[in-house]
């Protein structure tokens, strides 16, 4: 700009011939730039991916886990030839902040958005994405509306609540078939927050439809912030059910199992149809041998995928004290999906990126399931829950059989026989 303003003033006027020559040169350059060379230049521009996660507020621990997944994955993706730059934003576990941050990222040049762990915030961001015509890749959020509301720019590589609940419950049939033992009764202990109550409603609605071989004889709700679960466990013990089903968070999962050991609650198994806690590193560390054989039915890393092993190794090296769990895996995959679409689109134009996302077909991935492909509504249907059981101090895939690293242990050995 400064050159253009100085030259005319120093030359003190310009001849008609000089003007024509300059204009012709300019026109030539513009024409050339409008063709293929510009397209190549754009393709070489890294994707500006706006990452929206709850890194503070009540979901901070999970938001930070997701962020670690993105950060560890970035180096891997660069080695694989992808070109991505992160624009990080904190949603503060608040949908309104999430919406504002999404608008800010787009204003500052984000070509695509990724996030945002919790359903309410993700819905708010999906609204912004739709309004601005910028694609959004959902790492984790189970709210069905995200892919049932007709959004054109939202793509979700995570099961909806319905898929999650049904997938988790259906696996019980496979679990008992694999074990060769079918229990008849269960007691359900669950947190009474919105997640726990949602799961309870889902379980109550699906149990009769899925024709499961057992009955839930007692349902015990508790506050996730409970300091002591001795009464809840005493009640569960009195129910004399064959096995214990749980819907937990982390701290209460530790309290629950510790109290079961103290009260000598010997049961065939402690299983969750799909909740956090029992696969967490802190759970394994706090309970040691008593954490063994607890199992959770959730989407998980596919041990047969080389990329999963690579991600887990890198994660362990970078964060030896943190859990490499589904938050890490799905966030990595969301970044992979975004980077892959950018590479195929050869452009940073949101419309081209959206079209490329629609045509996604990624067979080499980290989570269990088929190739990542999106339906017309933006949902990836090739997602499966796995049975993850704590064996030898590590969450281990035991079902489905094609991804299993070990056999499902059921009934579990009694607590008192564990030395």
């Amino acid at each position: 700009m400064s050159d253009h303003t100085t030259i005319p003033s120093s030359s003190k006027g310009i001849t008609r011939r000089q003007f024509s020559a300059t204009a012709a040169t300019g026109a030539l350059l513009t024409t050339a730039a409008a063709g293929l060379p510009l397209r190549k230049a754009r393709a070489a521009t890294p994707l500006k991916l706006g990452i929206l996660l709850p890194r503070s507020g009540h979901l901070a621990l999970i938001g930070q886990a997701c962020q670690r997944g993105a950060d560890v994955g970035l180096a891997m993706l660069k080695e694989m030839g992808y070109s991505v730059e992160f624009m990080n934003a904190d949603t503060e576990s608040n949908p309104d902040v999430g919406r504002t941050q999404a608008e800010k990222l787009i204003r500052e040049g984000a070509n695509m958005l990724m996030g945002a762990f919790d359903s309410a915030t993700t819905l708010a961001i999906a609204g912004v994405a739709e309004q601005k015509g910028v694609p959004l890749v959902v790492n984790i959020a189970a709210e069905p509306k995200l892919t049932e509301q007709g959004f054109k720019y939202t793509f979700r590589n995570f099961p909806s609540a319905g898929m999650l609940g049904k997938g988790g419950l259906l696996l019980y049939k496979d679990m008992f078939a694999a074990a060769g033992v079918t229990p008849k009764t269960a007691v359900l202990l669950h947190v009474n927050d919105s997640f726990g109550m949602g799961m309870l409603n889902g379980i109550n609605a699906l149990m009769p439809k899925l024709d499961l071989p057992f009955q839930i004889v007692e349902t015990i709700a508790y506050d996730p912030k409970a300091r002591d679960l001795s009464i809840e466990v005493a009640k569960a013990k009195a129910a004399k059910a064959d096995f214990v089903m749980t819907v937990t968070r982390l701290n209460d999962a530790i309290l629950l199992v510790r109290e079961m050991v103290k009260q000598q609650v010997e049961t065939m198994g402690i299983t969750s149809p799909g909740s956090p806690g029992m696969y967490d590193k802190q759970f394994l560390k706090a309970l040691g041998k008593y954490a063994e054989f607890c199992s959770v039915n959730i989407p998980w890393f596919d041990p047969k995928q080389e990329m999963a092993a690579q991600l887990q190794q890198r994660f362990e090296k970078a964060h030896p004290d943190e859990s490499c769990d589904l938050n890490v895996g799905f966030t990595f995959e969301a970044v992979l999906i975004a980077a892959d679409a950018h590479k195929r689109a050869g452009s940073n134009d949101p419309a081209a990126l959206t079209e490329a996302l629609r045509a996604t077909n990624i067979a080499k991935r980290v989570m269990i399931g088929g190739a990542i492909k999106f339906e017309a509504n933006g949902q990836n249907m090739n997602l499966r829950s796995a049975v993850v059981q704590n064996l030898n101090g590590k969450p281990t895939v035991v079902l489905p059989a094609e991804s299993a690293e070990a056999k499902f242990v059921f009934p579990m050995p009694p607590f008192k026989s564990r030395g």
Partner: protein, 289 residues
Amino acid sequence: MDATFFLNVTSSGLLTGLVYGLMALGLSVIFGVMRVVNFAHGDLMVVAMYAAFLLFTKLGIQPVPALPLVAGGLFVVGYLLQRVLINRFLGATEHIQFLLLLSVAIIITNVVLMVFGPDARNIQLDASFESYSVGPLVLDKVRVIAAITAGGVAALLWAFFRYTTTGTAIRACADNPVGARVVGLDVEKLYAVTFGIGAACVGAAGCLLLLLVDVHPHLSSDYTLLGFIIVILGGLGSLGGALLGGILVGLSEALSGVLIAPSLKSMFSFGLLILVLLLRPQGILGKKP
């Protein structure tokens, strides 16, 4: 649900109640002598829990052997807090004292948050997973250890106030501060010692509670509230009342959890509080003003 089940639940509630009682003792001692309501009570307990946590993780000292160290440390903290800060506000109106101690509570919570972060911490002992079987009764080992220790500390405190010269002098200050000054007692110093003793009780309770619950910075408000419920139930200023209040809260939580719903158990402590306030506002063992 059979009799064994109720017996197990009742014994668990009773044992937990004893530890609750010890925690509330400190609050009751401070109010009984100085007429100051310590709103930083739960925060001092959280500090004690973190101190016990550090002694265990860094030096391998288990919470029960660490109890004298932590209680001693908290005595010093309480003594200095009273001497340096609270003493200046003893003549002030109640709402000024309330704001002062609330400010102290907020500062403690945030300092703990800055130092230890928001995560819950716990310690694992072999005893954490063990229980005693007495016939059909299954008693949680750490709960038994905590309850016995709480009973011991409460007995020591009672003996201190009953049989030592300092204890008698503190009781004199509580009964008649003017008279205590007239006979030449250093009331300010005795108040500081009292606050120190109250804080030491909280320190002891913190060590024992670490055996039962995970510690995190925001635990303090829960326990301040619980402490108030207990001392109001038992009678503000009464040592026996604090223990009785603790046992009543422990039992009501346990039995309401079984008979109604575990998620509603805290509601019954508040229900009991309202009932006592209606029928006997001075508390079960409290004296009429």
